[in-house]
Symmetry: D2
Subunit: 138 residues, 4 copies
């Protein structure tokens, strides 16, 4: 099983008036991790979309343990938790680099669809993308 | 049990290159609903913060059924699902106004904390805020 | 000359750790105003895009006078400042509803392009959209 | 004169339904550049705020030349254009790394204020922060 580790730094715009990173930003961070995860397997996420494979979300969730703050350097750990013919589930951990504290963990569940948002059986529709994602769970 | 209904319209900035509202925006929408829910009970959310009561998230989640699109007019239905001495759970439904289709549903779970992020027992710390939130589950 | 007035309420997610609405949000607010301005002329902004007319930005700017805060109800005043065969310039005023204080003013300058981002002479490419926008400066 | 160069990668959430990075994101990108610029001078931006020096925006602007797209790796070049006792103006260039194309350029003009948003003469209020920013124009 492959695990991607991507670093980001909390941006000022991501803070709110509580002085912490607003919770909604964790999902774009997960997306950065997911994007880099797929990149590391050898295919740009945008390339996948150009091949007509889209991964809209069916569900997502996040548990927040310690707030991330402005300028915190954080590591997003991403891996595939579940991989099925018509959907895929990614799992994420958000870790503060300075002390390796787990700040949050979450998941996103995606359907495989084509450009018209019709569900596809990925292996049939595009075996190349299927094989690349398969290599992520080996 | 009170249910707040608040209308919003999907903004251009909220769309992504799939041509749908990006999933991360549903959490700010929930927040708008939550804010209006508390307002309807008779207290501005900002007033609650001025009284030293903050509601950072412990957990959140969302299930996406039908994508929201640019200029869609949507209704956010908000109500309290669970209310305990140290935490509160809100539930949300995102409904497309044109056909009353349920687009998504989600929840947010919040701790009660003070300005230093120390957990508080809301009833003890501020019975006024406690009573106002209580009126939401009657 | 038509002037659209659209109300919005500052969202929690739009605040930053200075306790004010982050400056980058004024551009999505301008966009809401622009969208409603076009709607008021009788055409949905999304309809314009379906007709193959897109308005990417060439330039934008904003002058901030008084910070907007969470839950502030604000009025976005939008009008066309300049309208030429290949571009259009909108002007915006952000006004706090409680005291009609001018919080900020800005502009956006847009090119007319087709779906491939090639510049178009709007009147030639789509006289219907041209006429509708023309009605905004009468 | 110091020039900071910071790399970022366009995020999916930053795209809109035109398939390009939404214009409002350039201001958070400028902010990342500004933050790294100050860091490079030897002081974290958050440290500056802890010392009671805040830099809210008075004005900002951006000219867009070529759209940035999802997964584009871009360089933000940041430098001080103007530095006065009560305000500072930063200039930014957004450059696509693959071909060093200038995608956009912009500026932000900031006032120096204290935690109560009262304007300050930076040199008098905090000579340490003043000196550090001064070193950026040497």
């Amino acid at each position: 099983m492959k695990v991607n580790q991507t670093k980001i730094k909390v941006r000022y715009v991501e803070t709110d008036q509580m002085g912490i990173a607003h919770h909604s930003n964790y999902f774009p961070w997960f997306e950065v991790g997911r994007s880099e995860f797929v990149n590391e397997l050898g295919m740009a996420y945008s390339e996948m979309e150009r091949k007509g494979v889209f991964l809209p979300l069916i569900e997502c969730g996040c548990r927040f343990k310690v707030p991330a703050k402005y300028e915190d350097e954080i590591i997003i750990k991403t891996y595939i938790e579940q991989f099925e013919p018509v959907k895929i589930r990614f799992k994420y951990e958000v870790i503060r680099e300075s002390d390796f504290k787990l700040l949050a963990e979450g998941f996103t569940l995606h359907a495989f669809v084509d450009e018209t948002f019709k569900p596809i059986i990925l292996k049939k529709k595009n075996s190349e993308v299927w094989n690349i994602l398969c290599s992520g769970i080996e």
